[in-house]
């Protein structure tokens, strides 16, 4: 089966600019996750979708980050405006359901803020 697809792989922007990331999960996977992984740390969950509904966005900085999964398939994560501390790898993951199932990660988008 095809894995989780993410684009772009790399993005360099200046602070205060906007950026968007795209994720296409494994076909049939109901649950989609966006993680932020800062260098040297473990992934931190930003938002979790179950189909097109938000299950957990408690760690999403809502003043600048937004995410949507309108049709319950692919998803976009946006940052507006970006800050220097947003430099990180943004990982998308999916799982078949929400309960006790492995998460399959994409290759991520490496974001650098100048």
């Amino acid at each position: 089966e095809a894995g989780v697809a993410q684009s772009p792989r790399y993005k360099i922007i200046e602070k205060r600019q906007s950026v968007a990331f795209w994720c296409n999960p494994i076909s049939g996977h109901a649950t989609l996750y966006w993680y932020q992984q800062i260098l040297g740390q473990g992934p931190k969950l930003l938002i979790q979708f179950q189909n097109n509904g938000v299950v957990d966005d408690s760690q999403l900085p809502k003043d600048r980050f937004s995410a949507e999964r309108l049709k319950g398939v692919d998803s976009t994560l946006k940052i507006q405006p970006a800050k220097l501390e947003d430099s990180a790898v943004y990982l998308c993951a999916s799982s078949p359901g929400g309960s006790n199932q492995p998460q399959h990660f994409g290759d991520g988008t490496r974001l650098s803020i100048l």
């Binding site: 473990g42 992934p43 969950l45 179950q50 957990d56 993951a93 929400g98 309960s99 998460q103 990660f105």
Partner: protein
């Protein structure tokens, strides 16, 4: 909030030596998953532990879940250079819809 301690943070071993990483939580966990991330790669699922005292083996890897469901360990016997990477524990507490909390991971280096 959830406190997850994973130790050691770094481990350097000679090929053929054993390796163990430990994951400790301040609260009782519903389950725990383990992931491996190669340098420059993305996390890859290894195993999930659910039951108190559970032990699971995958070839040279042995995973344990503590009796109190507050700690877990991953042991690799006779490490190989292909074992290089960062090993993350990702505990989950509360409902099965609850988020995974990834620790900082243990970065394993294997010298040939």
């Amino acid at each position: 909030g959830q406190q997850v301690m994973q130790i050691p943070q770094y481990q350097h071993v000679q090929e053929g030596e054993d390796f163990t990483t430990y994951c400790n939580s301040s609260t009782t966990l519903s389950n725990i998953q383990w992931y491996k991330q190669r340098p420059g790669g993305h996390p890859v699922f290894l195993i999930q532990l659910v039951k108190s005292g559970e032990v699971k083996k995958q070839k040279r890897l042995t995973f344990q879940f503590g009796e109190a469901k507050k700690n877990s360990s991953l042991h690799i016997t006779a490490t190989q250079t292909t074992d290089v990477g960062t090993y993350f524990c990702a505990p989950r507490r509360g409902s099965t819809l609850g988020r995974l909390y990834f620790g900082r991971g243990t970065q394993l280096t294997v010298w040939p």
